[in-house]
């Protein structure tokens, strides 16, 4: 645990050196969500407050669950840079997780004032929900963050088999955009796509907590859905471990 905290602290300090960069990265995420919200508000479809709440929470949950490590992992593998980590008494994934959490903590500091300003501008009101829904929301956000991180890690380690995994990352990106609720809420998708989304992991990596907090789901469905999300979490962890072990068998770093 101490080693993990050290990684988080190092990442935090490293990120704080380049505050301007991080602010711009955070802003980039906000712009996309904001434009999508403006599009919805101009359609005069449904309740504006629903879309405001959905995209407001999307900004927050999207940041907490965000992961961008696949490109760096695939580069580390391609250029043999994971070798030093293999001889360290701490797994490579922990190094990546530390980096992810550290950077997100700094981004969160930039996001909060933006959220407050947007909240005032769009007259955001918190949804009135029971404490159990808030609890389910928090648990679901944590599960989603881990699922998203592991999925990104899995995409990254495909570099053990592929010379260049850029195309795979692109395909992962577009599928995730369509089925995670990042662009449009899954509830407004046509029925076929909604059913398809239920069988893909992307819903559980972002959309589910948003569905919970925006009252799209009845309270009696919360527990079964959290169990499914936990099942997805276990499945991706298992797959990740398996692929990592297989990949390491294949791994030959340059110079070895």
């Amino acid at each position: 645990m101490n080693k993990f905290i050290t990684y988080v602290t190092v990442s935090l300090k490293d990120t704080l050196v380049y505050r301007g960069d991080v602010a711009l990265y955070t802003g980039s995420g906000v712009v996309f969500t904001l434009i999508t919200l403006i599009l919805w508000l101009n359609t005069n479809t449904g309740s504006p407050q629903f879309y405001i709440q959905y995209y407001f929470f999307l900004l927050l949950v999207g940041l907490i669950c965000s992961s961008w490590n696949s490109i760096f992992i695939s580069r580390d593998i391609r250029f043999g840079r994971i070798s030093p980590f293999l001889v360290k008494p701490i797994p490579y994934i922990i190094h990546q997780a530390g980096n992810n959490i550290g950077e997100k903590l700094v981004k969160l500091v930039f996001l909060i004032p933006i959220l407050l300003a947007l909240g005032l501008f769009f007259r955001f009101t918190f949804p009135v929900v029971a404490p159990v829904v808030w609890l389910a929301f928090v648990i679901s956000v944590l599960f989603a963050a881990v699922i998203n991180f592991i999925l990104e890690f899995i995409v990254g380690i495909t570099a053990f088999w592929l010379d260049d995994s850029e195309a795979l990352r692109e395909i992962y990106g577009v599928t995730s955009l369509a089925f995670s609720g990042r662009f449009v809420p899954l509830v407004v998708l046509p029925l076929f796509f909604r059913k398809l989304a239920a069988f893909l992991p992307f819903r559980y990596s972002l959309s589910l907590p948003l569905e919970i907090i925006t009252k799209e789901l009845p309270v009696d469905q919360l527990f079964p859905l959290l169990v499914i999300q936990f099942g997805v979490l276990l499945a991706v962890i298992f797959l990740c471990r398996l692929l990592w072990q297989w990949g390491l068998v294949r791994y030959t770093a340059s110079g070895n």
Binding site: S28, D163, V174
Partner: protein, 261 residues
């Protein structure tokens, strides 16, 4: 002529490099087609219970997206990697290599690497433009082809100029990795009708002019939301931005001190 030969040589060199990872190249082309399909599908969701968004119907919006994809694809093919690598080549002093070559520094630094697997973006963009024009019942005319051509050229020049200006800031700043985030923000903004954001406000229009002339104004001209005469605004605006960007680059270059200096 010398520069055309140089560009062709660079093109051959980049194609040979891309073909080393052939599977990735073709998968990238497929993924770009997938991006467009998903993007259009998601846009159509907005129109399930509303026939227009701020006066734009679904095919007009597709036209705008298609035009954006064309510019985005061309920008990625020729300039994206070069301009985004700019901060790094300045920081490491690798720009020295460009300065000592018998060709324009800006030309070499802007076109050295081409991302040819982005051809899928341009082609699918062109496909979406044709698809939209067909559904909007447009006849092929000189005005239409001319407008599209001028718009593409002006849009590409403007995007290049805006990014070049920001990349040139790397001569003064230690690190500018956020250039990628800036591009990301810009590209996400450009693919929607910006009159949604400006809402006809003159100040907002003036502030966002460099972005408006990339796709929104051309799409408005073609869909006859504004007068066709606005096309004559496109060329001088793009030229002004280009001249400003080149001047700023040359000014910044004077502040360059390589890593070994």
């Amino acid at each position: 002529m010398k520069y055309l030969h140089l560009l062709i040589s660079l093109f051959r060199n980049n194609l040979a490099r891309d073909m080393e990872y052939r599977a990735n190249f073709f998968l990238m082309v497929i993924s770009q087609v997938l991006w467009v399909v998903v993007q259009l599908a998601l846009i159509s969701v907005f129109f399930t219970s509303s026939s227009t968004i701020h006066g734009w119907d679904i095919y007009q919006l597709f036209l705008l997206v298609g035009m954006y994809r064309c510019i985005d694809g061309l920008f990625h093919i020729f300039f994206y990697r070069n301009l985004l690598d700019f901060p790094e080549i300045i920081r490491t002093g690798d720009l020295d290599g460009f300065l000592t070559k018998p060709a324009g520094t800006l030309f070499l630094a802007s076109t050295r690497y081409q991302k040819l697997n982005e051809v899928g973006t341009t082609l699918t963009g062109a496909g979406v433009v044709i698809f939209s024009l067909f559904h909007l019942h447009y006849q092929l005319s000189l005005f239409l082809v001319g407008t599209l051509f001028i718009s593409l050229l002006a849009g590409l020049t403007t995007v290049y100029s805006v990014i070049l200006m920001f990349s040139s800031l790397s001569f003064f700043l230690t690190r500018m990795t956020a250039l990628e985030a800036f591009w990301d923000m810009l590209s996400k903004t450009l693919r929607v009708p910006l009159d949604l954001i400006t809402q006809g406000n003159s100040l907002a229009n003036a502030l966002l002019l460099p972005l408006l002339i990339v796709v929104t104004i051309p799409a408005q001209i073609i869909t006859q939301k504004i007068s066709g005469l606005f096309i004559f605004l496109e060329i001088p605006c793009a030229l002004v931005f280009f001249i400003l960007a080149v001047r700023f680059f040359n000014f910044s270059l004077r502040h360059y001190s390589s890593a070994s200096s």
